[in-house]
C-alpha cells in the first residue's frame, strides 16, 4: 500500500453495531459487500475489503476476473465472473460473502463510482469507519480506549 492510497479503517471506540454500513452497501449494490460480525455482545466488527497489496482472491481466480489496478485497488470485472467461489474460499479475512448475486461474487470496489468515497464510510452512523491513508491512520487514535485501558473489553 502506497502512502497516498486510502483504505477503510475502523475505530472500535465508536462502532455501535448499527449495521448502517451494511445497509448503505446493500442499498447501492443489492447485496452487502461489507461483512459484519459480533466479537462479543457489546463489541462489533464490520469487515471491509482491505484491498491487499498481494491479493489472495486475485491469485485464486482462475479467469483473472480480479485484478489490481494502478491505484492499488483490487477490482472485479463482474462480466467475466463465472461464480466459481474460488475468491470467496481464498480470502483470509472472510470479507467476500458466500452467497452469489446474479451468479457473481460480490467484491468491494471502494465505491469508485462515487467521488466522495465509499458509501459505508459516509453512512457510518457513529463515525467509526474512516477513509484514511496509512500515514493518517497512524496518527488517529483508533480503538485505543477499547484495547489498552480495560482488560474486560469495555471502553473506559
Amino acid at each position: 500500500m502506497e502512502n497516498n492510497q486510502k483504505r477503510i479503517f475502523l475505530d472500535l471506540d465508536y462502532c455501535i453495531g448499527c449495521r448502517s454500513c451494511e445497509a448503505a452497501c446493500r442499498s447501492a449494490f443489492e447485496e452487502s459487500r461489507i461483512r459484519y460480525g459480533d466479537i462479543s455482545e457489546t463489541t462489533f466488527l464490520p469487515i471491509a475489503c482491505r484491498h491487499c497489496d498481494e491479493p489472495v482472491c486475485a491469485a485464486a481466480c482462475p479467469f483473472e476476473v480480479l485484478k489490481v489496478t494502478d491505484q492499488g485497488l483490487v477490482l472485479q470485472a463482474s462480466f467475466h465472473c463465472v461464480g466459481c467461489k474460488s475468491c470467496i474460499i481464498a480470502c483470509p479475512f472472510g470479507v467476500l460473502d458466500k452467497s452469489l448475486l446474479h451468479h457473481v461474487s460480490q467484491k468491494c470496489n471502494l465505491c469508485k463510482d462515487r467521488e466522495d468515497g465509499p458509501r459505508c464510510v459516509a453512512s457510518c452512523a457513529s463515525g467509526a469507519l474512516k477513509l484514511l491513508t496509512e500515514k493518517e491512520a497512524k496518527k488517529v487514535v483508533v480503538g485505543k480506549r477499547f484495547v489498552s485501558r480495560s482488560p474486560f473489553w469495555r471502553r473506559t
Binding site: 471506540d13 465508536y14 455501535i16 453495531g17 448499527c18 449495521r19 448502517s20 451494511e22 445497509a23 448503505a24 446493500r26 442499498s27 447501492a28 462479543s40 455482545e41 457489546t42 463489541t43 462489533f44 466522495d116 458509501r119 459516509a122 453512512s123 457510518c124 452512523a125 457513529s126 463515525g127 480506549r145 473489553w153 469495555r154 471502553r155 473506559t156
Partner: protein, 553 residues
Amino acid sequence: MSIESKLHKSTCPFCLYGCGLSVNQTSRGSFTLRKVEYDREASVNQGRLCARGNAATHVLDDKRRLTSPLLNNKKIDWVTAISQIKSQLKSFSPKEIAITYDLNNTTEELAAISGFAHELKIDSVARAYLEPETFFSYGLPDVKHAALSDINEAKVILIVGDVFGKTPVISKPILDAKYADRNNRLFYIDSVKTKIAGFANKFLWAKPGTEPLLLLALIVKAGKAAKIVIGDNNFNKLRRLLPQLSELCGVADQSLEEVIQGLLSIPKGVILASMDFGKTDDPLLLSSLVQLLTVVLPGDKKFCSPALASVPIGKIGFGDIIDNIHQGKTKALINFGNLFPFYYPALIPTLSNLKLFITTSIYLNNLPFDNMILPVPSLLEKYGTINTLWDRVILKPLAEPVSGTKPISEIIKQLTGDLNKSKPTFTSNIAIDEIINRGVNFAKHYKKSDEISVLGEESAFGHRGIYANDSDILKVNPLTASKYEIKQDNSVKLLVDGKEKSFTAKITTSVTVDTITISVDKPDNRELFPIRIDNLTKEIIIAPAKGKLIKVS
C-alpha cells in the same frame, strides 16, 4: 436518448432526529435508478445515516406500493371511491364517526385533518400511532429540552432504553461527549443488555418492566434536591419504599449510589430516553419519571427523547375509540396514516365490529373485514413541514409521488369541497403528584411472576424487514435455555395467552434469566403483546407479555 441526473435533498422523516437525506436520481427515458446520497454539509448528521435512511430508495421503489383504491381488497377508481365515501358518511351521525391519524402526515396535513373533523362536527379525533414513545408527549412543565449542542457539551449522560438501536445517528454526539474528557460519564438503564451497555461507565440492568422503580429510587437518592421539587409528603412516601425498590428492580444499592453521585456532582448533563414496542409495562410512568429526574437533578440538566412529540395528541385517546367501538357508539372510522391497523394485528378483532372502515395506506395490504384502502404518497414524496427534535424543517419531495396516489389534503378537499385548517397540540402536562402516586402504586402492586417475560426488540437495521428479517429469532438466556433443554438454533414454540408462534432460539447473555426478546420490527410478532388502555390518558399501552416456552423435538 440522454441520461439525466438530479440530486434531491430533503430531511429524513423516519425518526425525529432530522438527518439530511439526499437521493440521486438518474433517468434515461422511462428507466429510473435511485441511489441514496450522503450530504456532508447536512448540519445535523454530516451525511451519516442509519439503515432506515439508507432504505429510502426501497420505500420509493417498492413493488408493494399501493397504486389504486381498494374496496374489500378489490381495485376501484378514485371517482367511485370518493363518491362512495361521501354517500356512506351521510348514513352516520357525526357522533358515530371517529377520525385517527399517525406520523405519515406533515404539519399542514394534520391541520387539514383537524379542519376536516371540525367541518363534519366529529369530536372523536385520536392519534393512531400506538408506539409507546407517544407517551413522551405527556410531560412536566419545567423540563428543559436539549438542543444538539447540549449533547455535544454534556459532561454526564444518562440513557434510559435502547436509544442507539432506534436512532443510531445520535451515537456520534453522545460518544464524542463521553470521550471528550476522561472524567465524563455515561450511564445506562435498561432491562436488556443492548449495544449501549458496552460503552457505559455504569450499566444498571433492571429486571423486565422495573425501569420506573429504578428511576424512583434514583429520585429519592437525589435527597434534598428531590424534596424541593416533589414536596415533603411525596418524598417521605418514596423514602419508605426505597429498600423495596432496589430489591424489586434487582440492582445493587451501590450501583445506584454510583450513578446518582455522578449525576449530582457533574453539573452539565443530558438525560435521553427511548422506548420499544412491548418492552415497558407503564410507558407513561417511565416517560414522566425520566422527565421528573431531569427536573430534580441540580445543575444544567436537559431532557431529550428521539421520539418526542412526533404526533400531536388527539382530542380523545385511542383507548376511548376502542371502548366506543365495543359499546357500539362508534360505527365508522376514518384513518389518515399508514401504520394502523396493519402494524397492530391485535386490534383487528375490535375493528371488525365497525360498519365502515376507511384507511389510507402506502403499501398493498389486506384486511379481513369490510374496508376501503386509499393509496397515499409516503413522507418521502411530500412537500410540507415536520417537527424534528431540534427544529421545524421543510420536507421536499425526493421523488415524484407514485402514480395513482393522492395526498391526504386533496382527498379531504374532494370530500368536503374545501380545506379548513386548525392547529393541533403537541404536548400536554401532567402533575407531579399524579406521577408520584402512580409510581407508588406501581411499586406496591408489582408482582414477581414465574412465567417468562416476553419483550419486544426494535432496531433501525431491522426496520420493516427491508435489510434483516429476524422475526423468527428468539433470544434467550443460557440458564433459561438449559432449564427448558434448549440449544442454539433449536426450534421452540412460544405460548402467549392462547396464541402460539414458532421461533429459532438464539442463546445470549444479553437478556436476563426468565426473559426472552423477540423482534417486533415487522407486524408478525406484534399480536403476541397484550393491549391495555391507560386510565389517565386513554392511550394504548402495549406491555411485555407473559408466556411459556416449549421445545419442539
